[in-house]
């Protein structure tokens, strides 16, 4: 099932590129031979032109090459631990799909503006609304489709036996049912979004004053930070089935049976950047430096996440794993 999902996920970019190519061929008779490359804005003279084939070659060829590189990456990461391989493949799939969707849409928007023009000079400018609205939307759609097809559940396998005796425990009664539920708002994201949006607005104002109407394209730098707003929401759920963590639309789920042991670790600023930013959701979902809950998974990989009371949560996970290891009668 997982292989089928990967196959479908990596089939999306060539399907998008193929669709863009077919659309371009359908419009071919209505397009001029060349389009303005430099100049031609606001009545200024055209300095150089580019052929339709050349433009399509760049806009569709680049993601096609990226897709091929992604396929090679898919094969190479197969040597890594299952969890790490899964999240690297997910990252590749999301990146390739987003780039393919973005460049295909930009190409079609440019070509659509030039339909029915006989020469490069007659070709219209792509509308600002299409560039600032449609392109981010297609990128978002591409990211969502690729992420959904990749799935959120880690394929770490099944841990054998109970956690080590030195792991922290939370005493549980035999029949007791337990769950950890945590929800919070990440204020740093609020601050970052406000700062970026204000900077974008200032930049747009400067661009409009200096470059005229094309400067409105700078509105993208106000809109894009808004897409980060869902990332302010953080949720952590631990129960007898799984550990689920979610930052906005990004979620991870680790089956409890995949957890070898849980511990509390102190994440410093450099680790936070490495685990939280560079490694992405595959290695951790840590909001800020400080104490964090660390899961050692059956395939040997680690996963870090923020928790208000990491010691209690770690004890809870280890004690529930003890129950699982003791047999289903106690669960």
């Amino acid at each position: 099932m997982r292989k089928i999902r990967w196959f479908i996920g990596m089939s999306v970019p060539p399907a998008v590129l193929g669709g863009a190519l077919l659309t371009m061929l359908a419009w071919r008779d209505r397009l001029p031979a060349e389009l303005p490359h430099r100049g031609g804005v606001d009545g200024r003279p055209i300095l150089s032109t580019i052929t339709i084939e050349g433009l399509a070659g760049v806009m569709l060829g680049t993601p096609a090459l990226l897709w091929l590189a992604g396929l090679v990456g898919f094969v190479l990461v197969g040597r890594l631990p299952a969890t790490l391989a899964h999240w690297l493949r997910a990252t590749i799939q999301v990146a390739v799909t987003a780039v393919s969707a973005a460049l295909s849409t930009v190409l079609l928007v440019i070509l659509h503006a030039a339909t029915d023009a006989r020469t490069a000079a007659e070709a219209g400018m792509p509308s600002t609304a299409a560039m600032t609205g449609l392109v981010p939307l297609t990128i978002l759609a591409g990211v969502l489709v690729a992420a959904l097809l990749a799935g959120r559940r880690s394929p770490a396998g099944r841990a054998i036996g109970a956690p080590d005796p030195d792991a922290t425990r939370l005493p549980l009664a035999d029949q007791e049912k337990v769950a950890w539920q945590e929800r919070r708002v990440h204020r740093v994201v609020d601050l970052a979004v406000a700062t970026l949006a204000l900077s974008g607005a200032a930049m747009t104002a400067v661009l409009v004053m200096t470059a005229g109407s094309p400067g409105w394209a700078g509105v993208v730098s106000v809109i894009v930070p808004m897409t980060l707003l869902p990332m302010r929401s953080y949720r952590l759920t631990i129960d007898e089935r799984a550990v689920r963590v979610r930052i906005g639309p990004i979620s991870r789920e680790v089956a409890l049976e995949s957890v070898r042991r849980a511990d509390v670790v102190d994440v410093d600023a450099s680790q936070w950047l490495l685990k939280g930013v560079l490694h992405g959701a595959g290695a951790g979902m840590v909001l800020l430096p400080g104490p964090a809950l660390a899961l050692r998974l059956a395939d040997g990989s680690d996963f870090l996440m923020s928790c208000r009371d990491a010691t209690t949560a770690a004890g809870l996970i280890n004690s529930m794993r003890d129950r699982q290891a003791a047999g289903p009668a106690l669960i």
Binding site: D174, K177, V178, W180, Q181, R183, T237
Partner: protein
């Protein structure tokens, strides 16, 4: 925050869930504006009926600790929710102690009135 319920206990499950939330608020793990898990989600995690969770949330709302709004779920409310939660827990313990000691409602109320005076 940690939710723990024991089906073998004589205390109703909804009271146990409400007690977990009260302790969370009293300990500062939940503050004003924090959202509680959705009833269905918590019920699924704990393996209890959703109506049991909703009954617990209803009790907490009646105590003035949370507010329930359609579409927004349960949110911690009140000017000083931690103090309010501690007060509710203390009153519950007080009543339980009075019952064990054979002290009736009137007698307990007169003791409280005397302390206030």
């Amino acid at each position: 925050m940690l939710f723990r319920v024991d089906p073998s206990s004589s205390t109703p499950l909804s009271d146990q869930i409400a007690g977990c939330v009260r302790r969370g608020i009293a300990d500062g793990l939940l503050t004003r504006g924090d959202r509680l898990p959705a009833g269905r989600e918590l019920a699924s995690s704990l393996g209890v009926n959703m109506h049991t969770v909703l009954r617990a949330y209803g009790d907490l709302r009646d105590e003035g600790l949370i507010e329930l709004r359609p579409g927004r779920g349960a949110t911690v409310t009140g000017a000083s929710p931690a103090d309010q939660a501690r007060l509710v827990e203390t009153v519950r313990e007080l009543v339980a102690t009075a019952r064990r000691a054979g002290v009736g409602r009137e007698e307990l109320m007169s003791l409280v009135d005397k302390e206030f005076a």
